[in-house]
Chain length 208, copies 2
């Protein structure tokens, strides 16, 4: 045996992999999926086209990993907020605010990960993320209804409504005030939160 991967070699491999992944993610963050052509990704990572295929078996694989990585982080953060111990209404507001703030920091990426269709292979991963996100809200709603602090409303439908509402208002193509600065963003998040909160509590907790 004359060639053996040493630890140093291993790390070089991993670094290159990470660099490609980061390049791809950044491209998606800038121009959505259409911008993440393999040639582009390779160029941005400072690597030849073929090299990408040394680390992923197809473009779909690479994209799926982007979705999975970023999604896991975002859902984790939202879930942590959503599952904290406060009363349901406050948790709901906090979860929405958390997601909204983060989404606004990277509108294009958020849109790509939640809304923009991709080829079927990646779609599965995307939908899973979306469903998990909705599920965070559904749990809060269910609990609020059980405790009697929220009026009755099908939690699955309401959760979908919440996701749809802030998705559209925040990062959708008709999002009011696209990139008009932090002041407008703050207003936007506040309004969206109030909208969703009111829809869920039905005025039962107008103190918020």
């Amino acid at each position: 045996m004359v060639y053996q991967r040493t630890e140093r070699g291993e790390r070089r491999l991993a670094d290159k992999r990470a660099r490609i992944l980061r390049a791809a993610r950044d491209l998606v963050a800038e121009g959505g999926w259409p911008a993440a052509q393999v040639d582009n990704v390779a160029a941005r990572a400072g690597v030849a086209t073929g090299t990408v295929y040394r680390h992923w078996s197809s473009k779909a694989d690479l994209c799926a990993e982007i979705v999975a990585t970023v999604s896991a982080r975002e859902v984790g953060i939202v879930r942590a907020v959503a599952d904290a111990g406060e009363p349901p209404a406050e948790r709901l507001a906090a979860a929405i605010r958390t997601f909204a703030d983060r989404a606004l920091r990277g509108r294009r990426l958020a849109y790509a990960l939640i809304a923009e269709p991709v080829d079927p292979e990646v779609e599965a991963t995307r939908l899973q993320y979306r469903a998990e996100l909705a599920h965070c809200f559904e749990r809060i709603l269910r609990e609020g209804i059980m405790r009697g602090v929220f009026p009755r409303l099908d939690p699955a439908v309401a959760a979908a409504c919440i996701v749809g509402a802030f998705m559209e208002a925040l990062i959708g193509p008709l999002a009011p005030a696209r990139g008009t600065g932090p002041r407008a963003d703050r207003h936007l998040v506040e309004q969206i939160t109030r909208f969703c909160l009111r829809a869920s509590t039905g005025g039962m907790e107008e103190g918020a």
Copy 2:
């Protein structure tokens, strides 16, 4: 001059055009934009590929016309309901119900027209439709706020939220109860309407 288009000839032309347009619309309604390949459209219309280009200068043109045609009809209907004379809360509910009922009758088409991205040339037409739809709701909200029957809330943001909410819950990929029959659909529409209404009225008109 030896050939002149007669009225009969003119009508034949128009009929063929209409047949192609209908074929394309049906394909979109069945499988979204990806299904509307020019070859497919031609085949479905019983026409050769090249014939399509005798009536539209490009595929994008054809798609834009589909969007424009269907959209104009749908927005017209919603607007008629939204602008009727009843009190704002009822008009809002009626508008949402109207749109939702119609969208459910053709989920795939509705999704394609409102949410599914297309190439940039068609996008402009799509966004215009979307914006008009949102505007219907915005007008109701604005009036309700002015009359003091709705609590204050940025009408543009709230309108986007409403569109997003019912879009997601009705036809989005996480729509609960996809195609589970008319009973489930009725429930869905009812829940969505209640969600949006409550968000807008803030419990000020809990009689609805």
